[in-house]
Symmetry: C2
Subunit: 356 residues, 2 copies
DNA sequence: CGCTGTTACTTAACCGGTTCGGCAAGCAGG
DNA sequence: CCTGCTTGCCGAACCGGTTAAGTAACAGCG
């Protein structure tokens, strides 16, 4: 079956290739009658524009790029990414734009990918996630002239357009919630400090905690379940130990819950837990986890819209997407009046090595 | 900064465009000296081939397509997909192939995507996941002449090349494990019956169970945590109830564990649980879940290799990737000698409505 | 020496669109 | 009636590669 090209349409409609192009692209230069005829023929022949040809001449690829610089392992764990990608896709599909998704293992590889894409004219613009402090990608994208929308706080974006959520407000809500329940010693199990969003949330944590008069502890992790579990173990071993823990993602919160229960702690009586993202994970644990919920799919969609309008000539502004919403579930409650030590017989705790 | 094209290389190397193309593509027609000179100039100028131009003339897009016909919601829940995509990417990146990833919400949209891709010459080949019984995609891909590698059993692939894992062997291992522990009443919480792999595992479940002389129960779900939880609740309410449950993914297994614990059941004393995929989820619960483990990233890589060699002219064969590996953790153990009923005071169970 | 065959290149067509310059027809204005 | 402007369309160049066809130089060989 031979490919249908505009040449064929031109032949059948009795006009030139150029006229067909004008007609199909809704551009002036053809009469209404001719345009209608061309469109009808194109419809009949089921013409589909050839992306490569269009890209070659128009210097547009109709593709957006998204690089994820995480290990494949992390990606399987983090419900965030595929949801975000789904949101991006949902917008692109309508516009018949494509998404070039690249999974790399380091920031350097991500930079190399941008260079390559820019040189190949592979993408019209990129979406940048996981902003770092003084992020090297920003300077590179600026130098390459590659249109970009960053996912993260304007403080991190250095003037590039970004879409962000209000971390301070979310942290106020989270800490306000546990403070209202009566908690005074509150810990935060954060992600890696090199991530800008983590830093911003760290600051918001201290600001909000100070104004509420709380006793705060901060632990950094690599966002993994293992480190979330380890951090929780350490926090519970401390004296005095926190009565509420706020996690920076939901995976660590679930791992933390598991550790606490393994040590015999009853959630929420002995310990209140709050997760940051709110995926299904938070609803399948027992008790279910209180979380700072967030519409990740909508976030991806919003970012994509911003990139599209940026290419349409919109000014490169930053946009507040929305604030996370506190969803209270059974993992949060008032602290025990006289905080108990974890001295119930642990049911699944590893046996101490020095047992006779 | 002007784009570097082969025309510029030709000018600087003092040869024609055509000669440059031969040199850069390692094709005969140029002397070793000229080839070296051209390559040096290309290197100096940091030439990168323009994908669109190459695609237009060579009628190759150097892109593989992958359509995921699931709701964005499901995708955020299932650790499988992003891991698989990561595995695919890892192979493609080396070859500087790209991946066109499309997330759609129905099978019809997936079919439409293939049609579009074929018409646009958008992709050189596709990877097809989530095979159905009598899958309509197979006939379409054959008609479109779109090279494809299917992820699933040869019985489902209708002659198209596929990469699969041995479901019967895995099911034998899983049922053998619980049977060896002494379990006799075993349930399977399966995915939707329209998925071919589910059907195959269902059959393997009955075959293996019959030969082991087990008393089997099968429940179908939509793979979601909610339905996994509901199925578990129903199974535990039955009389006699199963002493071991095998779930078709890890999300449902975690949800099932949570439900069982909520009803006061002690895992594994009262109930043995086995998960099918083995993501991080299985290791962060308490107790940790026994699972039929699987290298999903490697699976994605293998499938991609097969598609690459298919395009290189390899015969369209089916390949066994590997068999899932039983990873025994704390969620499996021998059944109680005299099975207890779930009559401990549930700690978080919803209060019965008829309580005075 | 002339014929043939190979090698190393050049030229030009081509992929399927976009876009610019130009031309003819139609119309208004002087 | 002539000029000038607009409208509608054509033809051709162009994007940046690949590749078939053509050609010149040279080697082998009878």
């Amino acid at each position: 079956m031979p490919r249908v090209t505009i040449k064929e349409i031109a032949r059948r409609a009795g006009v030139s290739k150029g006229a067909v192009s004008y007609a199909l692209n809704n551009q002036p230069g053809v009469s209404a009658a001719t345009r209608a005829r061309v469109l009808r023929v194109a419809e009949e022949l089921e013409w589909v524009p050839n992306r490569a040809a269009r890209q070659l001449s128009a210097a547009r690829s109709e593709t957006f790029g998204l690089v994820l610089a995480r290990t494949a392992q992390t990606l399987t764990e983090e419900p965030f990414y595929l949801g975000f990608v789904g949101g991006v896709e949902s917008v692109l599909a309508d516009r018949s734009y494509a998404l070039a998704l690249q999974v790399v293992s380091s920031l350097d590889e991500e930079l190399a990918t941008y260079r390559k894409w820019a040189a190949e004219r592979r993408v019209d613009g990129v979406i940048v996630v996981d902003l770092r402090m003084a992020d090297p990608r920003i300077a590179l994208l600026r130098k390459l002239g590659l249109p970009a929308v960053l996912v993260g706080d304007p403080q991190l974006a250095d003037g590039l357009p970004c879409v962000w959520t209000d971390a301070a407000a979310a942290m106020n809500a989270a800490l306000g919630h546990v403070a209202a329940l009566g908690h005074r010693r509150v810990a935060r199990v954060a992600g890696p400090p090199e991530y800008g969003d983590v830093w911003i949330r760290d600051r918001a944590f201290f600001n909000a905690g100070r104004s509420l008069g709380l006793d705060l502890t901060l632990v950094h992790t690599d966002y993994s379940a293992d480190q979330g579990a380890a951090a929780t173990r350490d926090l519970l071993a401390a004296d005095p130990r926190p009565t509420a823990v706020i996690y920076d993602n939901d995976l660590m919160a679930v791992a933390g819950l598991s550790v606490a229960q393994g040590l015999g702690a009853v959630v929420p009586d002995d310990l209140t837990l709050v997760a940051w993202d709110d995926s299904t994970l938070c609803r399948i644990t027992h008790p279910r986890l209180t979380a700072m919920s967030h519409n990740i799919i909508g976030y991806g969609a919003e970012v994509t819209h911003r990139l599209l309008s940026l290419l349409d000539g919109a000014p490169p502004e930053s946009h507040l997407y929305s604030t996370r919403l506190l969803v209270v579930r059974e993992s949060s409650g008032p602290p025990a009046v006289r905080p108990t030590r974890c001295d119930r017989p642990p049911r699944y705790a590893p046996r101490p090595h020095h047992t006779p």
